[in-house]
Symmetry: D2
Subunit: 395 residues, 4 copies
């Protein structure tokens, strides 16, 4: 059996999610190419060592620069803040390594274009991937299959909202509120997922942004220093005069769009939609049927079949845990539901399938594909700032 050494760049939340995915995928899938956790490069040496020990990574790396040159590393998995994606990914590609990069592809359209070009210019056989994990929820994959099989007919509407509420005023400052590091706020973080999902399930492209609006509700946030953390002082508790830092990203971002086939789409991302924790919602209405998804109930797809007799039409809550549902036969019996991490495990398996020369169960996004998503993000940003409509092919 072929093996591919995974080199993780990033040892934070996403690093753990990815490490778990690489470890679990061979246990649940019959892989033709087996991933091994070859190396990890965290923010500093101790972080890398601890992470390596915990997650069974063969070795900590002193830096991502070293890691990408490590001959045991065949695929560089980039899960650091967005502003670093381009530099690391391009260097890895130049070193002839496959790259799997977290979303959004980049903070700027320029970076994203450079990455796509680097992917196109890479050595033959070198592959790129972007971690749009929600594609691999059984319910989202099923949504795509129903649409691709024509069960919805022509698509009229997409209604997409990714709502969270952790951005409340009391949340302390972090890199995510700094436009230099994060590029944007909810827009790049959450709308990137929605745009990718809309493209994935329909197979159609967004051609024009028809109005957009960004909102920033909180202008500055408390800085929680290492010492105040040690003292157990959160942002709220810190004494008057505590340092505060300006926020420079959107808290919410909405836009309207038109797709090539005439679909009317709306997108909204927010970190201040109280009561919504990870509510990645999408509804698609077609001529013959409709589908709805909400990640907070990720095992379910709502399906409306308009070809049934009127008396029997209804929103059918499909519990996507049947062996006939995408990816499910790899896991547990019907009704034994899956969680957040399984989308990553299935994606790791699909990546391995591709690296072994096979096909993924569902299409994967590579850098070129993710660049199209980035174009939409960019067109929306311009639309909001210029108060105009914006064609995506003008990006």
């Amino acid at each position: 059996m072929r093996e591919v050494g995974i080199g993780l760049v990033g040892a934070g939340f996403m690093g753990r999610v990815h490490a778990n995915a690489w470890r679990q995928s061979p246990l649940f899938f019959n892989l033709k190419c087996r991933p091994t956790l070859a190396a990890v490069a965290g923010g500093h040496a101790s972080e890398s060592s601890e992470f390596a020990a915990k997650w069974g990574v063969l070795k900590p790396s002193q830096s991502w620069e070293r890691l990408i040159k490590d001959p045991q590393v065949g695929l560089v998995d980039v899960c650091v803040p967005n502003y670093l994606h381009a530099e690391i990914s391009i260097a890895a590609l130049k070193a002839g390594k496959h790259v799997a990069c977290e979303k959004p592809l980049a903070n700027t359209i320029t970076d994203a274009r450079d990455m796509a070009l680097a992917a196109l210019g890479a050595k033959k056989g070198v592959r790129t991937f972007v971690w749009f994990n929600y594609r691999r929820c059984a319910a989202v994959s099923l949504m795509r299959e129903l649409i691709q099989q024509g069960r919805l007919g022509r698509i009229r509407h997409i209604r997409a909202q990714y709502l969270q509420d952790w951005g409340r005023a009391s949340t302390p400052h972090s890199w995510r509120f700094d436009s230099k590091l994060a590029g944007s706020g909810a827009h790049g973080d959450l709308n990137a997922h929605l745009i990718d999902m809309a493209r994935f399930v329909t197979g159609d492209e967004i051609v024009e942004v028809c109005g957009a609006m960004e909102a920033q509700f909180i202008q500055e946030r408390a800085v929680v220093t290492a010492s105040s953390k040690r003292l157990g002082l959160g942002a709220q508790k810190s004494k008057r005069g505590a340092k505060r830092q300006a926020c420079t990203v959107d808290d919410a971002f909405l836009f309207l769009a038109r797709m090539h086939n005439g679909t009317v789409a709306s997108f909204e991302a927010s970190r201040m939609a109280t009561g919504n924790k990870n509510a990645n919602h999408m509804e698609v209405n077609g001529e013959f049927g409709s589908v709805k998804f909400d990640f907070e109930r990720m095992n379910e797809l709502q399906w409306w079949d308009d070809t049934l007799p009127a008396r029997e039409q209804g929103w059918s809550r499909i519990l996507c845990t049947d062996p006939s549902h995408p990816y499910i036969d790899h896991y547990w019996p019907p009704g034994h539901v899956l969680g957040y991490e399984h989308g990553f495990i299935s994606m790791a398996a699909d990546i391995c399938a591709v690296l072994a020369g096979g096909e993924p169960e569902q299409p994967l996004a590579d850098f070129v594909d993710a660049y199209r998503t980035q174009q939409v993000l960019e067109a929306a940003m311009i639309s909001a700032r210029e108060r105009c409509w914006m064609r995506t092919d003008a990006i």
Copy 2:
């Protein structure tokens, strides 16, 4: 157009519900026999007069005895406490009047039998009806149609619960807590509905009660006198030493049963199921499909079609407001939902259809039919008290 004069006996909550139904039915249905509110007999004269003035009843009656002799009254509508059902209904039948009686048919099996016999012995053409209003929820009627059309195949399970929570300790005493007046507590009041619905939707009969349990959680309750009411004193606020009266009925009653065709059924009624207001639930599982209903979402039927491809099976939430749904074409357009009172309006219309010599849209319960429901109530009562199984044909 023929007219039928309605004589209401009872001017309380149920009196209002029925008066409304008689008034509304001709506005929404093309009736061949038009109901008019001919007379009303409440608890005392002023109540009758006020009710008559408000609801457009032609005249208040001094007593139910007078009312049933009134030549303008063609149908006596009995909506007084249960212990009076038999006396009034039988007298009305003897007077040659149609009778529509509130459920449960009676407090005792003896009374119920007398009523059924009186119905059988009534003058030719005299009809009886029992207000099992839930039969006329579009969703319940649809449940019946799907089962009758064989869409569920053989029925395996019925799971029926009627849950309310107004019986909390602070609720003052009333006739409903006195076994002499009410017969039983939740059992007769709520299980009567469930038993009727189970029989209605399946067309099958309960042959044996296989275990039953009654529970009384609250032993006595405050008596709220007229004077304490005037002073605005509720049960909770009344001073120490306030009179309290023993409760002599069940607060909850559960039983298991077997139906003729082998269906396994469970029933539960409670007034102390905190958080449930009027949760009349029923789930039916068959070989080829299942249905679920909850009155708190009375416009919806949950339908599972097990003959669909596994990938598309789900609990389908049918919003029963399409013209193809039972009774709906008489009311509003799709999505314009109905309420509690519409079951009564549709039942009033069905009664009028029968009185005009036609067929109701859905079967109605008469006294003989309701007697079968009463037999089950009685068998369950005996089962609970004797701690044994009890065949209903032994009643």
Copy 3:
């Protein structure tokens, strides 16, 4: 007791809804001013006569011009297609009659302005009302109360969608698809409700439309003639060569907006959102809490209280049938749910309260208030067509 004679102009679906509301309101509310159905003017004489006979209207009128001069008519209730609203309402106001007009106020901003001016210029004591019935759903009123009491804190987001699906391609042509008669399609019909609700629940005003998009999916529809109707031929069945007529209104209309207090709002109306029958949705997110409403479950309000301990926070499904909920003490006990028509009944009662010199239980929209809603509709229309942002005070 004072009486007010109602003169209905329009005898279609909305005429029935209003007639029912005027008839029912005195049965459920203690009114200081009693409505009587004095006259009705339908499309032609026979329609008026039949309607009058069915609904107990004192007399059919030959024309609306006659009706508004009828001394027995105190309030003219306008429920005809939008393009007639202005002429009839203004004439009625000039005749010194109160006017209750269906929504949207008018087809054009000019008409709407004329109506508002006519209302301002009417004889002292003459009142105007616009039938924004959803304000009187208990859940919508409760939404408003929670917001007004500060329970949500500063409002960040409004997410409003009014989705229907009757506009499918097979639906025949009607006045609703003709811009001359209907003004617009889903926009005026459905967004009018959403804008009014957003203004009602927040007490805030929309100051700017920040992008808008209209879509027309179906370009022409079959004309169903009276003769094809008689033959039982629907639009789909009519033979080739059957007459088809161009549609000149939007099927869907979306826009983004900003409110005075900084709230970010999105609006969407569609007649082609398959699976949605009358899905009037609204979600409002505030600093301290959120609320959600969906008319298809009109008895329920979803409420998130962010001030509870995190462990107990959840979307609470409030079944708005408690006597403590708006309007409920006039109807049935807890759990005995209401339907579509009850919003109109409660509104009729509130109108009577105002006419008797009292206060409505919840604020009513008059022509001046509805004109503000119309300004937003107009600003959105311009935004969509000019592809720009549009301040509402520029209308």
Copy 4:
């Protein structure tokens, strides 16, 4: 760090679930005692070898008898069919090993008693555990905490149903349909979970079974031989004359019960409740509040707080993914939901905590505790067969 060698007896579905749990627990919990997969004994040698290779078990064992003597094995994890639980567990205890046994404890009350006695008689420090995994759903643990903190007051009702539908007529025969191997059908398999959960969340004991009923809908099933499997022939497709085997267990089992504190409880288990995949439902109603759980939405707890103002009371859908919810701080951020396997991972971690001399986050069931659950199963079985009530202390 201490290590404990896990010896898995069983390499089927449950073997995989447990192996995964032991592997994952150290990655998500800070364990004081680290589990290692020391040995596995499957049905035959090749199964054990393949399992060991896949799941990283140090060595396959030739037999469970060898495995329990293996000095590297500190805990024997029993996940074979029920009829083998007693023999293996008792032998392991005698060998001085900790034992973690799948539920139900045993097929017969005699076996269960022997197991409990063996546990009590084991060497000091030797511990037993039973895999009642649902205790460790965050929602179920939260249910327990709310009840234990008195938030529900006195408990009135428990309504417990564990519904599946895989027992349809077309399902081929297996050990689960043979009473010699499985003991009972849905009863032991599913009611065992419900009884344990009822005891766990309330801390109360069932004192009497007040009626019970078992049902067997399918009398015989096709035998799918290894060769027909190879040919891709399922039970349905196999040719006429294919061997069929009698089923000797219940398909559904219902019973009513009373708990020590007066709670009225109902239990139902079924494998033929069409549309229910793994619907482990429980509702508990108390004086001051209620809770509801359904495993198909395992990340959610429905909570009713009856002490809130009536206007704000509702069924609150708590998404149990906040760090303040039981076990959640070990996994992902809010809204990043968990799945079926996480209950096992958390249980493995709790077992390790106990083995290291600490406390589990939530109470664990040992053999003595599980024996109480078995007494209830037995009392219910007798009640159903004798058609009488049955005290559990008479077992």
